[in-house]
Point group: D2
Chain length 365, copies 4
């Protein structure tokens, strides 16, 4: 399905960095979801570059809900968000055509689209496209929150600097979601910022690890094979540019423990079934077990750096170098986090709609 | 799509551990692929438990190609593999109904299927179901090999014991694919075996990390969003029981490097474009770049152990303990590897068929 | 999706006439549906050739529910029906390879599968494959009936002989569903039988029109675009071999009426909204309006006839003739009707599951 | 998939009559297709109401290709057409909320969307939405024409007035496609126009039958089950508002012929295999046989008429009447024809892309 994702609720993504609009279509959304424009604005602003750690390009992210909304609620018909591209600078994109940037999609796009791709600003591969995902994700995020399901993410590691892990789930989520640079300990912020500034000073960039939690998801959502919660979430998460790894619960650390250490014992807590540990990250056999869903995503350093890099000239097939001018983010991990929350909301809303039908996510008011 | 995966070429999986048959249907397969029964047998035997490190249950894995084959070649119509369940012991499955095994799917299945699930031997969640995936994957694996595309996996870590990484891609693959316990250094085998035996002696189990390589994939396969090569592979890989993490190239290690270190410089090598490093794991912007695809999957220790574990009694909602009798594998990572190769073959064959049409994978002879 | 159909509930079909098994996989089915084996048997026997008006080949239609059933109920995991091919005669299929039968799929299969197709008995194109559809359809038909939704079909026309139309919906359905040759007037049966015998005597065949009704479907099921009830039903119906036309309500007769005649006026009847006429066939804007769904399907005469026919020799590209020996049905319309009821049940069960979630069709007992 | 249709090439439709934009996203389109804006304009103008036989609302159908085009060619990434809704009159839509129009979607929309639907101008059910389909269909139509595949439609019947059938396929198509009211005989035009004027004078409306031909489609395209050419085309065609029937080749007339009359004999013609008749409409076993694809669609009279009609008041559940003011088309069949050509182009382009891969439809220049 290429640019469409989901089963009963789908999202279709389109646009290029320098086209007229980027956008996303949500289909299969419940009628009667209150459109939470405040959350859309908050999430778009978190994704938007701002301040010294980000690119200088000012993107206003005005958006239009072009269909599927009436009098403040979803109609149940396809909901389309359009975001106009207003600040398009015509760079020297002919150069990119000849000398692909290392670890960018310039070369693979050439192989796939045979030169017909729109190279301006990264075209369809631009991180800017994620703004549309963030907008529709924000709508579903609010709808899920209405059902008691909260999604939140913090930067758990950045170039060697680690944050503490999730502890008290509920409290953290609210705070994280209103922060532009979400961490769980104040000192982490300062240490990470120092790393980012150091990288910026060198004309370089840093990556890191994001840790996400989903609270309040009832048990019994997901499928045993293929459309496991892990599989669907990972499918969506790997669409977020720069994501190169996804793990649930203990994840790769399972390699070092015994089964007796890794297993999550059940116990009764206040009449409810819970597990003593949550090494499974809230998922067994592909299906939610009622504990928080916990996953981590690896974010590579943004490949756009000021340093000179080796590349090739596609025209004469010779070795050469490239210096990428323009605006570069030394870190995009805090912005990527917003996209991760968005695709998580989309994936869960789809799993819910598949499980409980197309009216399930309607607001109660 | 639940138990169906893929776009232009799909696989549908069905069956329970103690039903009459488990099976898989491949649809959209090219006509004229030579059915490589030797490879099916080899791969099934690698997946099958055998020897002291595995469960005592002898599974013969006879299989029937019930449709889609004629005179040794695929017909182009749905190809169905059926595997009869011949060795079904009727255990005390009523007990499981009341006391779910920690980190198994017993509890989540109950939440999803309301008691109607077949609990015998894990039912639809049984690892045995993967035998059908392995069989159809083996057919596609041979078809891809015919096109010069090789898939192979080694155990890169097992309870703290590490193998060396891939170095010389081509040579390793052939050797790995004929080994029942694939590692790249002989000493690794002994050290890992010692860990497994230690765990077995304690009635416990161990997990690890598998590293896979895909060699010979042309550049230009995959999609920019959602159906990225990473997203499609991860979607399939997380179906493999026990997989809790997937990373490509440097993966989570990207958190510790600068962009200048993580970027893969291009250069010309023998008239071909290659990258000096392969930190991207062969994928940029979701699309293959012509370098080997490299990914790692985290395998949790099998949750079936002999040790007594805490659980709950679902009937009276009280705390209790469980001791799981029967056959347990102290390690299943070497068997999981075969399933990983199978779903990789399926995912790549799908990506190819989508890109090049439904006749693409036909044999040349 | 080729051999898979449906959104939230899917059916996957496989098999060839002379393979080991034909079969179908239902995925996304609610857990807890009582398997109505009596209905499966009844429906399979209606589809099966018998008596003088049908082919002499005796097909016993034994079937195995190979997965997805436990203790008489659906488990919620994929339900697979397998039907062994027991009565395989090895005809002269090499001849078919050279001289395609007119209006059969021999030639188009050759163009699509390049000679790799299994030609024995029509292979994957054999009407026999529909037995698997009938079996899984019968399970869903009973589940829908439990919810008050009834599906029934009569032969409304056969080679110029017309039956009366539906009048009293509820009563007719029960009677129709227990008849091997369903008509609404007794005299129709005799007249149609006479036509069939006449055709048989000439070594020829006849077609006709089937009219189907769905009673009890609540209003609000279906989608405005693409997955309209009409579109989904038609998609499935055109899979039934020999179907060459589908119309809803007045259908093609709309060409002769004014809007004021064709529109269905609303009125209140016993506190419920009904329409005075049902020219729309129970569907407006792709969505059910609570009135019976009424549609008709055109069934072409079976192309297998004893008369000599002109065809070509594919080897030397010359004109030639063919006489098709073996068993031929002079009419298959009464058997096709069972397949139409089956795909209707599948399509509606899918629309329901999409609308109301995956637990919706579970039995109440 | 609700508002998304297709397998390897998909179209997603969105918008409401009085929203900001309606639009469609084509995904999976080959890179390098020349965007034929002339054809888009021609096709949009044919769909647009004009002259005395159509509604007085002037729709300019300006459109924006918001993504997926660069320098006049498709990029291969999702192509989005947006059409602004510029001429929105705020009618008395509250009234519609209470008294649903007969044979419109007002009542079924209420049942499905619980009052959240946008009722203005028919909302998502408005025929206006088809403008977006027409635009993207026109792009694919030109791409198919580049490969020698032509699509054309004439009005074969209008309220009892019949046109002649297709005879010389190639010549007709070109002429039909440049006509705003496509018929094959001049006298048909006058007779049909007279019927339309008569209906208009009475405040009533008329329907009819459209006959379409696809010329130049190679043999071997389509699938045996479910995604048969007939099934895929019918699925798309029933999305076109007012379509209530679809038949291929002889269609419903098969009910009156013997197999020996209905079968299409093969013969060699100029070294090519053709059939003497084309009663199958170019499709056997769901797959194209190289002859023209011929199908007919039944178009119901537009339900918007000036005459007073019986309906109900949804608020107090009482009987009442409605007079629909505003603009009404006495006939929309000539406009519906453009939408039918569009969805035919989309469906065939999808079947081709599935068969031959994603690069297949690229222009040769």
């Amino acid at each position: 399905m290429k640019n469409t994702f989901g089963n009963n609720l789908t999202v279709t993504l389109f646009g290029e960095s320098h086209g007229d609009f980027i956008g996303a279509v949500l289909d299969g959304v419940s009628p009667g979801i209150k459109i939470d424009r405040e959350n859309i604005d908050k999430r778009l602003s978190q994704r938007r570059p701002s301040g010294k750690i980000s690119t200088a390009r000012v993107e206003r992210d005005e958006y239009i809900i072009a269909s599927g909304e009436y009098q403040g609620y979803t109609t149940g018909t396809p909901l389309t968000v359009l975001i106009p591209n207003t600040n398009k600078k015509s760079g020297d994109y002919e150069k990119l055509a000849k000398t692909p940037r290392p670890s960018h999609a310039d070369y693979t796009a050439e192989c796939k689209y045979h030169g017909f791709q729109d190279r301006r600003g990264g075209g369809h591969f631009s991180g800017r496209i994620t703004a549309a995902l963030v907008a529709v994700g924000a709508i579903l995020e609010s709808a899920l929150a209405d059902k008691g399901i909260l999604i939140g993410t913090h930067i758990s590691e950045l170039h060697g600097v680690a944050d503490r892990g999730f502890e008290v789930y509920g409290d953290d989520i609210a705070t994280l979601n209103s922060s532009a640079f979400p961490v769980l300990r104040e000192v982490t912020y300062e240490n990470m910022m120092r790393e980012i500034e150091k990288a910026a000073a060198m004309g370089d960039s840093v990556g890191g690890i994001l840790e996400s939690a989903v609270i309040g998801l009832p048990a019994g959502v997901g499928e045993p094979w293929f459309d496991t919660l892990e599989g669907m979430l990972a499918h969506a998460l790997f669409s977020v540019p720069a994501v190169k790894g996804v793990e649930f619960g203990l994840g790769f650390a399972f390699a070092d423990v015994y089964g007796s250490e890794g297993n999550d014992a059940f116990r009764i807590d206040g009449g409810k079934i819970v597990t003593e540990t949550n090494n499974s990250g809230g998922i067994n056999g592909g299906i939610s077990n009622g504990m928080p869903i916990i996953f981590r995503t690896a974010i590579k350093p943004t490949p756009s750096i000021f340093k000179s890099q080796k590349t090739v000239n596609l025209e004469d097939m010779s070795d050469t170098t490239i210096e990428i001018s323009g605006r570069h983010d030394p870190a995009i991990i805090h912005r990527a986090r917003t996209v991760i929350d968005a695709v998580t909301a989309i994936t869960l809303a789809d799993a819910f709609t598949t499980r409980f039908g197309t009216d399930y996510l309607a607001s109660k008011d």
